[in-house]
């Protein structure tokens, strides 16, 4: 008898919840969408590190209702590396000139805490 055997409906639910993380990326419809701008300018300024850090921190924090994705240059090359956060209503906040500390703050305060950080925002 293998140890993978599901012995009760409760076991099944537990396995489901664990496995969900695997596939929920494909479901869409998340409350928050974080887009890393990864044009040549973004990558040159360190967007790859921002992306990796975001992925790691979101995972560590167990943030479920967040989509992490990427796009190209938004035309604000001097602000790179930058990210855009879009909520379910479609309203968008852009953070620029990011570094590891700013990314950490954004994850804690904005993504998990729900409070945008005005100081890091790009203003037109």
């Amino acid at each position: 008898m293998s140890d993978k055997k599901i012995k009760s409906p409760a076991d099944l639910l537990a396995l489901r919840d664990k496995a969900k993380e695997d596939v929920e990326l494909r479901a869409g419809g998340k409350a928050l969408r974080i887009t890393v701008h990864m044009g040549t300018c973004g990558i040159a300024s360190g967007a790859r590190d921002v992306l990796k850090q975001l992925a790691a921190e979101l995972s560590a924090a167990g943030a479920k209702d967040v989509t992490l994705t990427q796009t190209g240059c938004a035309g604000l090359c001097d602000q790179e590396p930058m990210i855009s956060l879009t909520d379910a209503t479609g309203s968008m906040v852009r953070y620029g000139k990011l570094d590891a500390q700013k990314v950490g703050d954004i994850v804690r305060q904005h993504v998990l805490g729900g409070t945008p950080i005005v100081d890091y925002m790009i203003r037109a």
Binding site: K4, I6, P9, A19, E21, D22, V23, V36, A55, G72
Partner: protein
């Protein structure tokens, strides 16, 4: 565990695997590794996503970007551009065409997916079918858990009953009822069986579930077993599905490993296990009793029912057999409830159905829609319509056991009952779309051939009956049929339906019966006229172009003669079947070109262009062979109407030796050719040239002689005319039917054109509005532009794609300044002081499909507006007003007021009166009129002499050189040279010019010579 930020789901369904998707996913992994992304981006092989025609396909999550036709070499771009730099690779996005913006990036935006409701295929393309965890993550086995812990077996059966789920294998038997019967049956050993012997040509939804979501089948069968009280199940799957067998085997092992199959499932004490049994692909093994016999290890043959399998099934034990798609629905019903399921579909058919869309449709593949979705929606909205500008003809639903649904029924909701009413069946859900190039007799023959081949031979009706039917249908395809064959086929078919042993035999006649029902005319054309209208049946079709020509011109013959610069011979060859070489070179709608097989290589041969070059080389009139026959010359034949039908009738009568008289109402012969077709399309000298040629054969033309005004039919009889041909055209324009139509400044297109063409002047406004979308509308618009209108606007109630006008004419009209607006219909003429000042219109939207297979325009409330204009030209159709000329003679009329004429002889209900052209067919083309005129000439000859030998119909071919081994010349179709726009304004100079010699000869040599037959053959 790695935290992947992106998943690439590569389709690993059978179709995509065949087109190389596994190589693509390997290349993707390699690229991800190379760029250090393999711990960030995961590649998952998933089940069939549906649009197999553009495979291999893949989706990139979380964005849902959908890529098509990916090659391993594209992996670098996808990884470097999309996954590294966030720039989707636009050239690979679904629906992308070179040089165009891609329509929609994300999967959910694509029309092919947007209108689908995925229940059965809920996990196909979402999960890795080889990982049970992914199935469980998407609520897999939760339905089973609910059934085992919270419900009694009776409650489970009741739930399925209440859901209204019906057998997806085709017959539509209520699944819950089947389970209840098996549950009630006496016996302690019972079986749950799954029919995965998907044998219908073209249907592959069961394979898709087995390959893409095998656990949904296992879970469904477990639930069924619990409800019925079975402990053992079998999946009977065809050996031709190796990938399905492999994935199902893996899934079974995983389910056992996870304790979801075997003893004490989920700790509830319920035991159930499953085994795979492979069949070797006999179609009859899809029949339930034959399937069970085959599982038992014996030859797969059906047996009579009762006893039904619910009582005596596999090894004589109570058994319940359902198909894969049925089982795949069950977990969702248990999880979401019967009420949820019953909210999808129609009153009697609940849930969704997967259709395998194939044939002449842009997006082929698997589609899942709520039952009751209309056929039009599936074919056009999801399927993207018929490619290549061809017209939808019919769809074959339900494979060899089903039937065809013609275009008149595009609105039919696809549910069990509606399909049965039309003589088709839901069947397994195969949906083969056929366009105008499909011969329905040939389709029936194909399916009959299939079932005849697959008949197990146990019962006589199926074994012998289908063979007899096949012999008859084959005979019809060869042009050797008899009219009595139709009744015989129907009788035989009905007899087989009533008496065959199993469902295979009982449904075998369906394709024949339904094609006879919906396409009887096509059978009749094969039998009576020895013609295959679609140009398919090889014994009846010399070349598809010639077959498509209503006059039967030997197109490859004259084209190849032109290619050898033998112009005089080419012209005579053309005039064997159609006197109007020059006229048709200018105005013919060239049905030949739309059937040209060269279009499969690049584009159709410019047959009309070659013809134009040919007629330009005519220095002395090239007359065809004529028979002198003094006896026939003495018989008097009158032809009423000097248009193309009448003149053609006179021409062919003259060639048989007659000296017929043509009575023409106007001052010039030519009918519509002279009255309405503008001279920039057909210079009058060209028309006169061919009219004079016909006169020179002994045809007398009397102008200014109008039937009903100057003479009567009875009068002709009294004058000794023994037969009369009526070729009066459809000279009256239809009225708009809106208030204010009689206001000054509103004219009707035919009258407007006639006024200008016959009398040289027609009052034309400054701001002209033309209503209509046919050729008369375009002719009127282009004439108005030449007669000084400052602006000409065309309003049409349907869309551009549905305009009946000739596409070349539409484009040229636009170049000359015509503005066109669509989905607009007139409501009322607005006037001031008795003159028109505007046209009140309403916007339309497209509603349901009408009998012509087009979507019917319906008015949008509150969208009324006024188009300012001082001249409205109505061009919405033509009619015949037969009352004015028939007098006392009672000739039978069609519902639309045209003369009823025999399609072979042109004879009307009055034996001495014949008819052809628009007067008999309704508005049609010049070459149609020529065809009917020729038939009537032969019909008249037969009527007068009791026999007729139309010598021109004997095909003698041409002796031009052709090397069947040589490659076709590579040149693409040449475009017709046109007069520059600024030289057209204000004059009626001919717009179309002639190919130069080099172009014309090259174009002629592009012909693939479909008429060529091997000497030995």
């Amino acid at each position: 565990m790695d935290n992947y930020r992106s998943h690439i789901l590569v389709c690993a369904g059978g179709g995509c695997v065949a087109s190389g998707s596994l190589e693509v996913s390997a290349a993707l992994r390699e690229q991800l590794e190379k760029f250090g992304l393999s711990r960030e981006v995961k590649v998952v092989e998933t089940g069939c996503l549906g649009p197999c025609v553009v495979g291999p396909v893949a989706i990139v999550y979380p964005d849902g970007t959908f890529y098509q036709s990916i090659k391993p070499a594209d992996a670098a771009d996808i990884v470097q551009e999309h996954l590294l730099k966030g720039r989707p690779v636009t050239r690979l996005i679904y629906g992308a065409k070179p040089g165009e913006q891609p329509p929609a990036e994300a999967l959910k935006e694509v029309p092919f997916f947007r209108r689908q409701v995925k229940t059965v295929l809920r996990n196909c393309g979402m999960i890795d079918p080889q990982r049970i965890e992914e199935y469980i993550a998407r609520e897999g086995y939760a339905g089973l858990a609910k059934a085992l812990t919270a419900m009694t077996p009776d409650e489970v059966v009741d739930e399925v009953k209440r859901s209204g789920l019906r057998g997806r294998g085709g017959a539509g038997f209520p699944t819950g009822l089947k389970w209840a019967l098996t549950r009630k049956a006496v016996g302690d050993v019972k079986y749950v069986l799954c029919n995965a012997d998907e044998g219908d040509p073209g249907a592959f939804m069961d394979r898709s579930v087995l390959e893409g979501d095998p656990h949904s089948l296992i879970e469904g069968m477990c639930i069924a077993a619990y409800g019925i009280g079975a402990r053992q199940g079998y999946v009977y799957v065809r050996a031709e599905y190796p990938l399905a067998v492999e994935r199902l085997t893996t899934a079974l092992e995983q389910a056992r490993e996870y304790g979801l199959l075997g003893k004490d499932i989920l700790g509830t004490g319920f035991d159930f296990d499953l085994e795979i049994r492979m069949g070797s692909g006999a179609f009859v093994c899809g029949e339930e009793t034959a399937l069970m016999t085959s599982i038992e290890g014996r030859r797969g043959e059906p047996r009579p029912r009762p006893p039904f399998p619910a009582n005596k099934g596999l090894w004589g034990k109570p058994s319940s057999l359902n198909n894969v798609e049925t089982f795949a629905n069950v977990p969702v019903i248990l999880l979401k409830g019967a009420d949820w399921f019953a909210s999808l579909g129609t009153a009697k058919s609940k849930g969704t159905k997967v259709f395998a869309l194939a044939g002449a449709v842009t997006n082929t593949g698997l589609v899942e829609v709520p039952i009751g979705t209309s056929m039009g929606e599936i074919v056009y909205e999801i399927g993207g319509g018929v490619p290549g500008g061809k017209r939808f003809k019919a769809a074959q639903v339900g494979g060899p056991s089903g039937g065809c649904i013609p275009k008149q029924h595009l609105n039919v909701p696809l549910d069990y009952e509606s399909l049965n009413e039309l003589g088709a069946i839901m069947g397994s859900g195969g949906l083969v779309v056929m366009d105008e190039d499909s011969c329905m007799v040939d389709v029936a023959r194909f399916f009959l051939d299939f079932v005849q081949e697959e008949s197990c031979g146990k019962c006589t009706p199926c074994r012998i009956g289908t063979r007899r039917m096949l012999e008859i249908v084959t005979r019809i395809c060869q042009g050797k049929g008899r009219m009595s064959d139709l009744d015989e086929l129907v009788e035989l078919g009905e007899r087989i339906k009533d008496t065959a042993l199993c469902g295979l035999g009982q449904s075998a006649p369906n394709p024949v019966l339904s094609t006879i029902r919906h396409f009887r005319d096509e059978y009749i054309a094969h039998i009576r006229d020895q013609r295959c209208p679609a140009g398919v049946c090889p014994d009846l079709v010399r070349a598809p172009c010639q077959n498509a020509c209503p006059a039967g011109v030997d197109v490859p013959g004259f084209v190849s003669l032109v290619g050898e610069e033998r112009y005089a011979e080419a012209l005579r060859h053309h005039r064997e079947r159609n006197p109007f070489a020059s006229i048709c070179a200018r105005v013919c709608f060239h049905p030949c070109e739309s059937k040209c097989r060269r279009a499969g290589l690049d584009h159709a041969v410019a047959i009309r262009g070659v013809k134009r070059f040919m007629v330009e080389q005519e220095t002395t009139p090239q007359l065809p062979a004529i028979k002198d026959d003094p006896a026939r010359a003495r018989r008097r034949v009158a032809i009423v109407g000097g248009g193309p039908a009448g003149l053609a009738c006179g021409y062919f009568l003259a060639r048989l030796g007659y000296k017929p008289t043509v009575f023409e109402a106007e001052a010039q012969a030519g009918g519509m050719l002279v009255q309405t077709i503008p001279s920039y399309r057909l210079p009058r000298a060209e028309l006169q040239r061919e009219v004079r040629m016909i006169e020179s054969l002994g045809v007398e033309i009397r102008t200014n002689s109008k039937l009903g005004r100057d003479f009567t039919l009875q009068g002709l009889r009294a004058d000794g005319y023994e037969a009369v041909f009526l070729g009066l055209g459809a000279p009256a324009g239809s009225r708009l039917g809106v208030p204010g139509e009689d206001t000054l400044g509103v004219t009707e297109a035919i009258r407007y054109l006639r006024e200008y063409n016959l009398h040289g002047a027609a009052p034309t406004g400054k701001r002209v509005v033309v209503v209509g979308g046919g050729n008369a509308a375009i002719d009127a618009a282009r004439t108005a532009l030449r007669l000084g209108a400052e602006s000409v606007q065309l309003l049409y109630r349907r869309t551009r794609a549905e305009m009946p006008a000739w596409i070349e004419e539409i484009e040229e009209a636009e170049h000359e300044g015509l503005k066109m607006e669509f989905l607009i219909a007139p409501l009322e003429v607005v006037s001031e002081g008795g003159r028109v000042t505007g046209l009140k219109c309403q916007r339309m939207s497209l509603g349901e499909y009408d009998r012509t297979g087009r979507r019917r325009p319906v008015g949008v409330a509150g969208s009324e507006f006024v188009v300012p204009t001082d001249h409205v030209i109505a061009a919405i159709g033509q009619t015949l007003e037969p009352g004015a000329f028939l007098g006392d003679v009672q000739v039978e009329l069609t519902r639309n007021g045209y003369l009823v004429a025999d399609p072979v002889t042109g004879q009307t209900s009055v034996p001495w009166i014949f008819a052809g052209g628009d007067a008999a067919t309704g508005p049609a083309s010049v070459v149609d009129a020529v065809g009917t005129g020729e038939k009537a000439a032969v019909g008249i000859d037969q009527f007068l002499t009791g026999t007729s030998e139309p010598f021109w119909r004997v095909e003698h071919g041409v002796d031009t050189r052709f090397d069947p081994e040589a490659d076709p010349i590579p040149d693409d179709r040449a475009e017709m040279p046109l007069l520059p726009i600024d030289e057209r304004c204000g004059c009626f100079a001919e717009v179309e010019l002639t190919f130069d010699k080099v172009t014309a000869l090259r174009e002629a040599r592009r012909c693939l010579r479909c008429d060529y037959r091997c000497e030995e053959a």
